[in-house]
Subunit: 217 residues, 2 copies
């Protein structure tokens, strides 16, 4: 029974790592689509979101199956319920990458992001990518300390979002309302992506330590 | 055992109804704050989001306790896992009401929404309110048919969002980038609120019929 349960958990964990890698790849490609007005990259991200959704369903099914067959209690139960939360966050990260790709697609062949905003979006995309990488690593090998690093990375994302708004709201902003709105929404997509990564970090701390991190805002 | 399980489910259901009523009240008050530049209303919504988060934790604890004590399988297990998903959507709806309130707070004493946009936000707030009401009713008494009405209401929300962007992106837009960005983000908060309501409707269809609605986008 114990061995079976461990095998179930390993399978769930494997699915979550695959999902994390998929949403990381999706956001990388969405950023390429955004910064180089690459329509094919945008379309690929949009099409492939279904793959992330499919893994999400597999996690759900595997967790339900594990609970039904193994009737886990206490920390075992906590682990499988945590997996559900993590997969929901990852699913949402995939959606956010898709939103970035859709913005690039909608504006094609024009670039959605004017030259002045490229550095800040490059910065946001780098932070997002590092966070997604950390999550994939943590899912493979949970550690309470490393999860805290995600919080810190998220502070960097918040700084970048403030910088973005400073440019968008500057008196000299020359691009009109539409580009300002796109910029603000895109900033929000990256910032939300990072928030979900932080949530996952908190779930993993809870998993390792048994102590909840009060992450609800 | 069976009676105990039913009592557990009733308790979870009662918590979800309370949560739905709380997020409905939050969005109503946030809209008042937004449209009348009412700082007290905005602050009250922001403070009281912690109450929604608290109920969310209670649902989580009750579900974990129910699984551990009753070891539900099949449709019983589906019910308690569905409750987790619904509470996560409700928690997020509370956050979105808080975001609307924070926008009103940030712009106070100016109104965050100029006169031209008031009708569309009134419309969005009405749709959001109806959807939240339907959800509270459905949680008390799940029905597969009524859940479909939420999809339809959400189409109305999407139409309103398109209308909003038409105004924001009109050549004559006189308010500059900051107000346009606030308008776009506010529109997104209402639209996301409605999306979560649709998710809950889909979860409830699944609960009643056992058939998943493919709602992942």
């Amino acid at each position: 029974m114990r061995e079976e349960f461990q095998a179930d958990l390993n399978e769930v964990s494997r699915l979550l790592v695959t999902m994390a890698e998929a949403v990381r790849a999706a956001m990388r490609k969405a950023t390429t689509a955004l910064l180089t007005a690459d329509l094919k990259a945008a379309e690929s991200v949009i099409e492939r979101d279904a793959e992330v959704d499919e893994i999400y369903k597999q996690v759900e099914a595997k967790v339900a199956d594990t609970i039904a067959r193994q009737a886990p209690v206490a920390s075992d139960l906590r682990m499988v319920i945590t997996a559900l939360h993590i997969s929901a966050d990852l699913e949402r990260m995939g959606d956010l990458a898709e939103h970035v790709a859709k913005t690039a697609q909608r504006r094609h062949p024009s670039p959605a992001v004017p030259a002045e905003l490229r550095p800040v979006f490059k910065g946001m995309a780098e932070v997002a990518d590092q966070m997604a990488e950390q999550i994939a690593d943590l899912l493979a090998k949970p550690e309470a300390e490393a999860a805290a690093a995600l919080e810190k990375a998220d502070d960097g994302m918040d700084d970048l979002e403030r910088e973005l708004f400073k440019v968008l709201l500057h008196d000299d902003w020359p691009y009109g309302a539409e580009t300002a709105i796109d910029g603000a929404l895109l900033g929000r997509f990256y910032e939300r992506y990072a928030d979900h990564a932080v949530n996952i970090g908190e779930q993993l701390v809870f998993l390792v330590t048994g102590q909840p991190v009060d992450g609800l805002s």
